[in-house]
């Protein structure tokens, strides 16, 4: 019994050791295919699998769903994405306009200026709910995923294009329009 377990223990240890040393000597070569779409991908079982990230990258599909991107010209500032977001990573501030500003590429009429459109990528959990609710499909997920930075605030992506001056001007326009309307009513 004791002899049997001893021999068995030594044999299994040897088996494991041969397995690991095979891998040790195969480490001279790296696996060539990095693309999982390649039919030969799973046939390569030997060699190092490491992808040295910043220097080389894994191929990803064009329609990959990583970081959010906003086409601000198509945005009607409806705030639906911010409401849909489960982690509240989208912050939107709208300024009303007296008349229609213009049209988005799909023909929706824009009536609000986007004074602020910030997405905090540190909070984003990549659920994609915002892209589903967007009526003009201006918020999309892209194939960009490398967002390493040295500052946490760099992860708050601002998509609004208006300057502070412009925002103040639009706000003033709106208050003036409101005041004019009030004045017209009271007349």
């Amino acid at each position: 019994m004791l002899v049997k377990t001893t021999i068995q223990g030594l044999l299994t240890a040897l088996k494991g050791l041969t397995l690991t040393i095979k891998h040790l000597f195969n480490a001279g070569t790296a696996r060539k295919t990095k693309d999982i779409k390649n039919p030969a991908y799973f046939e390569e079982q030997q060699g190092v699998t490491t992808v040295q990230f910043p220097k080389e990258k894994m191929p990803i599909p064009e329609v990959a769903r990583y970081q959010l991107d906003v086409e601000i010209d198509d945005c009607i500032v409806c705030d639906l994405c911010a409401k849909a977001c489960p982690v509240d990573c989208i912050a939107i501030e709208a300024v009303k306009s007296p008349e229609a500003i213009g049209k988005t590429s799909d023909g929706s009429v824009k009536r609000l200026y986007a004074a602020q459109f910030d997405i905090d990528m540190a909070k984003c959990m990549y659920c994609g709910l915002c892209t589903v609710v967007c009526p003009t499909e201006c918020i999309t997920m892209t194939n960009q995923y490398d967002k390493s930075t040295r500052k946490l605030t760099d992860l708050i992506y601002g998509f609004a294009e208006m300057s502070d001056q412009e925002i103040a001007q639009r706000k003033e326009e709106w208050t003036k329009f409101q005041a004019d309307k009030e004045a017209a009513k009271s007349k």
């Binding site: 004791l2 060699g47 699998t49």
Partner: protein, 357 residues
């Protein structure tokens, strides 16, 4: 005066060697671990990550020494010193080349075993002094393990010493090659004083010493607290075992001691069983390979080569075998290794009486 300088220089040289060896071994360990697991290991610091361990040690040297508020300050500060010194002193009796050793002591082997055992006290000091349950658990495990595994190590060494009839490590190494002062026989039959080479190593002089060596290797692996016997450190269950609370240069010394211990036991096994500084190449007729490859430089080269090979095997085993459970560990020691070591010892006695006469 010159002897005084020599007395200072020798320990400094050994310390430098240990430090360099540790830097190299940690790098090798991480690389081997990477390759075994189909990874690359450290790659960013320097070409192929060669400067990784230098960066590590620079970081450790710079770090603040933190003593936990509840720790026993004296024991806590003293433990790394005791652990390191215990292993460090062990190096003073091991020969590197013919007559080239820090101290030629007649009871070298006994001295080494005695000094290295102090390591266990250092580990207990570290665990108790930290005043942390994981550290204490780790050190208790380490003590039980090291004391248990001292037995098979001692028994295998006795079985070798019964053949050599001396405790002087220098003489033990001498009697395994062409410079032997007494008659040596391959398998107790064929006189190999002239031939030398691997044929005159102890494991071939008396074949049961090969089993002894395997026992010695397994037991010393446990003595260094290395995987698969690393339950005192057991990163996944005890965080880091007895060195959980250590940081900075103190941790560096504990680490240094661990790697120095690896090299020391590898070197001890090489000296006692694998011919020490003797060349593995035998004299074949007029081809005097053994004569050509014996000497001071060659001796150091062979010692280093053999010891580093053994260290490589230790690392290889670490990245292959999973950790033992505490009861399995004790079963292996008390029920398998110790009886086997006793059998080897008995065979050694009979060998001495019946074959070597």
């Amino acid at each position: 005066m010159s002897t005084l300088i020599l007395y200072i220089l020798v320990p400094v040289a050994i310390f430098l060697f240990i430090a360099l060896f540790t830097l190299f071994a940690v790098y090798a360990e991480r690389k081997i671990a990477g390759f075994v697991q189909d990874r690359l290991g450290p790659m960013e610091t320097g070409k192929f990550g060669l400067l990784q361990t230098f960066a590590d040690i620079l970081k450790l040297i710079q770090k603040e020494l933190i003593t936990p508020a509840a720790a026993d300050r004296i024991l806590f500060a003293l433990a790394p010193v005791v652990i390191f010194v215990a292993v460090f002193i062990g190096f003073c009796v091991v020969p590197w080349a013919p007559d080239f050793m820090p101290a030629n002591v007649h009871t070298g082997l006994f001295f080494l075993m005695a000094v290295v055992s102090i390591d266990a006290i250092g580990i207990l000091m570290a665990g108790w002094g930290s005043n942390n349950k994981y550290s204490l658990l780790g050190s208790i495990r380490a003590i039980s393990q090291m004391i248990s595994y001292e037995l098979p190590v001692g028994l295998t060494l006795i079985s070798a010493v019964m053949i050599t009839q001396t405790l002087n490590l220098n003489d033990i190494a001498f009697n395994q090659g062409i410079l032997a002062q007494q008659d040596i026989y391959l398998l107790g039959i064929w006189r190999v004083n002239e031939i030398g080479g691997f044929l005159s190593w102890h494991i071939f002089q008396a074949p049961h010493l090969l089993i002894s060596y395997v026992i010695f290797f397994i037991a010393t692996l446990a003595e260094c607290n290395r995987a698969p016997f690393d339950i005192p450190e057991a990163e996944s269950e005890l965080i880091g075992g007895f060195h959980t609370e250590y940081g900075g240069i103190r941790f560096a010394f504990i680490f240094l001691a661990e790697y120095a211990m690896m090299f020391l036991v590898a070197m001890l096994g090489v000296v006692i069983f694998l011919g020490g500084w003797n060349t593995p190449l035998p004299n074949i007729g007029s081809l005097r390979l053994a004569d050509w490859t014996t000497g001071l430089g060659w001796g150091i080269f062979w010692t280093l080569l053999k010891s580093l090979t053994i260290v490589a095997i230790q690392i290889w085993i670490r990245w292959t075998l999973p950790r033992f459970r505490a009861d399995q560990l004790m079963t292996l020691c008390w029920k398998i290794l110790i009886p086997l070591a006793f059998v080897c010892m008995a065979i050694s006695g009979l060998w001495r009486i019946l074959i070597l006469v």
